[in-house]
Amino acid sequence: MDLLNIKDCEMYKFQLYILKDNTNSIRAIEEIRRIFENEFHNQYTLDIIDLFMYPEKAQENSIFATPTLIKVSPAPIRRIIGDMSDRNKVLNALSLDD
């Protein structure tokens, strides 16, 4: 995987599904922001969706657990669950080839 190629291409769009009052969700937001700021600078959008506020979104997008991070674009769509503190693991999981 070449991370430089990923950074050079189009704008990245991510969605992070959380439950706001939970420590693991708060930690996930901090970690994801830290990783993305370092890797993509301002070349990404991160939608943080709180399932406290929008519980219907869980069913709409088949969210089974939080925190869940979805890479919406560019294709392919990738979805990761759990601890997102490891930069390399997160970036590898999000840019797996078909």
Binding site: L19, D21, N22, T23, N24, S25, L51, F52, M53, P55, A58, Q59, S62, I63, F64, A65, T66, P67, T68, R78, R79, I80, I81, G82, D83, M84, D86, K89, V90, A93, L96
Partner: protein
């Protein structure tokens, strides 16, 4: 912060489950029937190639020996029939004996195969029962995060039928070989704090991840306040009957 209220009763449930799991193993995997089967497999002697070759040579040699013996001892006059016919009759008898031995060997192989098949079926059904009765939700996701297998406890945790769970995109579990805390979302609005454990394995020839969930406690969303409220007892519909 949400208080973990119902952790203690849950631990009791898990301890009692472990005991029952042990009993189940004793009953299913180490029962008398299985021991007898194992002994049967060990007691069946396997026919070696050298033995078959020896029996074949014996089948040919005995009539030849009879022929030459009869000729050398000059029993021709004493016998009513020709020595060639005697040898031929002995050869047919030897051939029938050889065929009988081969049939016996085939029968032995069939029995052996049946015993092995039964032992395999029993051990598979034993493992299947352990997975089915496990209180922890177990799912297997492939390298892309798609659910390939779910047990009944997982069905109860997510509030979805196993058929619907299979093929759904769950997500790639991040911490392989470790445990992490996640919130599982039940279809009826419950959020369940759970410990997610991930182990890498091979599933149908592909790399996959066995993901199991142990429930800590759960809390429910109240539509009025848009807030999840901790509930004291985990409802029966999301816990596996033990």
């Amino acid at each position: 912060m949400i208080e973990i209220i119902s952790m203690m009763p849950n631990l009791q449930i898990r301890n009692s489950f472990n005991q029952k799991l042990k009993n189940l193993c004793n009953l299913l995997c180490l029962n008398k029937e299985n021991r007898i089967m194992k002994n049967k497999i060990l007691n069946i002697p396997s026919m070696k190639k050298q033995q078959i070759f020896f029996e074949f040579i014996l089948t040919l040699m005995v009539p030849m020996f009879i022929y030459f013996f009869a000729e050398s001892m000059q029993f021709q006059e004493l016998l009513l029939i020709d020595k060639l016919y005697i040898s031929l009759i002995v050869f047919i008898i030897c051939l029938m004996w050889f065929i009988h031995r081969r049939i016996q060997e085939l029968q032995r192989e069939i029995i052996q195969r049946k015993v092995v098949e039964n032992a395999f079926y029993n051990s598979e059904s034993c493992l299947h029962k352990i997975i089915e009765k496990n209180a922890d939700g177990i799912i297997i996701v492939d390298g892309k995060g798609t659910i390939r297998f779910a047990n009944p406890a997982a069905k109860k945790l997510f509030g979805l039928e196993i058929e619907k769970l299979n093929g759904e995109l769950f997500g790639f579990p991040m911490t392989v070989g470790e445990t992490t805390e996640v919130n599982l979302l039940h279809r009826n609005g419950l959020a369940i704090i759970s410990e997610m454990r991930i182990v890498q394995l091979e599933w149908e020839g592909e790399k996959a991840y066995l993901t199991s969930f142990a429930i800590y406690h759960s809390f429910k969303n109240q539509n009025d306040s848009n807030k999840f409220i901790p509930i004291k007892k985990i409802p029966k519909e999301i816990t596996c009957e033990i």
